[in-house]
Point group: C2
Chain length 323, copies 2
């Protein structure tokens, strides 16, 4: 019986499929492609597949204990780590896809500039066909940044801020290990000492048990008066009520959230009306950019060859740690 891969994805072009076919052939595998409207066909197929490339909790749940590797096409795999019962095979390998650094970093640069340059307010001026241009603004050039998370996303953000003349870029990571994109990196255990000088805080952390409500009410109050908070990791990082309070009281000058809890945000949620909040519906890291899609396929193909050769998978996730 030949070794088989079930691929359940919407974003693949014919060129992407050809790339996957070539890598599969080199690795000794047969790929089977399904789009999202072919769930039943994919479910039937995955019963005799060793590898699943998808982003579907339902399809993973339907996979048998013979599944050896689940490659998720998203970067955040928190739903798969929170519920071990999803894997019929407890030893099934889980990989994620770190292809989102570029698109999320461009989102961060955009919303940072929108906040610093008062764009939500100017949008209201234009909406009412008014004309004013006198609001005091700030620039990325000469500003100090603190970035929570120094991985693919955090480092891509740092590189772009550097290119625009940021004065300093401090990283915060679990280990505190130095990284060339950052002026300094501190371990997350020192967060309370760092927050009082975090005037522009960018959060790009995975959703893990350790990061849930890491930015609680007390830590949000530690941020300096007039600080900005930008979150592109997971909504669970923040105490959203405390954030809304800090925005509405004016303690924070603004915030940009691309991730919230829950998504979609309920119609009556207080975040919709929070002052100076730039909300986006989880758009920063989707498979809606050609580069991201190309990179995702490339990373899967590389790890497929690693898998076939018995080498460690580059994107392996520690399911207990959560990233």
């Amino acid at each position: 019986m030949s070794r088989e891969i079930c691929i359940y994805q919407e974003f693949l072009t014919e060129a992407h499929k050809d790339q996957i076919r070539a890598a599969a052939q080199a690795a000794g595998f047969t790929p089977h492609f399904f789009t999202l409207d072919q769930f039943e066909e994919a479910k039937a197929c995955v019963q005799h597949c060793e590898v699943l490339y998808a982003h579907s909790i339902d399809l993973l749940r339907a996979a048998p204990a013979t599944l050896q590797w689940y490659c998720c096409s998203f970067a955040g795999v928190d739903p798969y780590c929170q519920d071990p019962s999803l894997f019929a095979n407890p030893d099934c390998l889980l990989t994620n896809t770190n292809a989102y650094g570029v698109t999320i970093a461009e989102h961060v640069v955009m919303v940072t500039l929108m906040l610093l340059r008062r764009m939500p307010e100017y949008a209201e001026v234009v909406r009412s066909r008014g004309w004013r241009s006198d609001l005091p603004i700030r620039s990325i050039r000469g500003s100090d940044f603190t970035i929570l998370g120094t991985g693919d996303i955090g480092s891509n953000v740092a590189d772009r801020l550097r290119g625009m003349g940021a004065a300093s870029i401090v990283g915060v990571s679990r280990s505190g290990k130095p990284h060339s994109s950052f002026d300094e990196v501190h371990p997350i255990s020192q967060l309370d000492a760092i927050l009082p000088s975090a005037g522009i805080l960018v959060a790009a952390l995975p959703g893990t048990p350790e990061t849930v409500h890491l930015l609680n009410r007390k830590r949000i109050s530690l941020l300096p008066e007039g600080a900005y908070v930008i979150n592109v990791g997971r909504g669970s990082l923040l105490d959203q009520d405390a954030l809304a309070d800090a925005l509405n009281s004016g303690h924070l000058a603004g915030a940009a959230l691309d991730v919230v809890v829950p998504e979609p945000l309920p119609q009556d949620h207080p975040l919709w009306d929070a002052r100076n909040l730039l909300l986006t519906p989880h758009v920063s890291g989707n498979l809606t950019l050609g580069y991201t899609c190309d990179r995702a396929v490339q990373l899967f193909c590389q790890d497929l060859l690693n898998y076939a050769e018995g080498r460690p998978l580059a994107a392996l996730v520690d399911r207990t740690r959560g990233y």
Copy 2:
């Protein structure tokens, strides 16, 4: 009689005034400071001043023939060049202030990302408390840019796009002289040959007789299907009716205008409703950013010393050429 400077500005801090006082003393001048609510006092003062540092057509018009140098605190001095009768002294020197490259470049990066990432559409989604994230987006990384104008503004834009991974940056200037911030620079006489491949066109040209309606209906139609147009120079560059038509027909994917004709835009102007038009009320280059203000004062003080020593003024404008 001591040599005197009339300074009629709103943005100066005490630190800025101290800088100007020090430069004036070194140059053998006495400075007189007025805020915008002190027009009559400034008008009385300018009668015996050799230098005027302001941005006021009315005050310039009130200045006598003994005025030798008018330093305008803005970059665009088209109103002063279009009407020679403003200067009682026909040989009065005119300088502008090239302090806006950083702030305008940050504006350009912001609106470029907002267009490529469909932010006006996502803002409407959020405004109606909806939730979707599937609009195809594009990135600065890997994109090709054409920039009209290779001066302080154009080159600051180019450097930032480069830092974000732009694939190519073509400049267009009057002379076509090579510039290190651009992959290549073409003379404006070749514009018709360049436009068909200008998928993202940024215009940062001064308002001169040569640039009025440079982007006329025919040239707008030369842009490729799905192109973007960003204008931070002068509104007179564009045939606005033709631009609105090209947006509404879908020939252009989007545009961002920070400058229009006239400003403010009349309430019934068709640009308010043009499709995928990101309009801002001339906010990109105001004296609303600390760095810009600091740089403006620095440039004035440098040229004050040049003036006192009889050296050429660094920011001298050719009043017949317009920049």
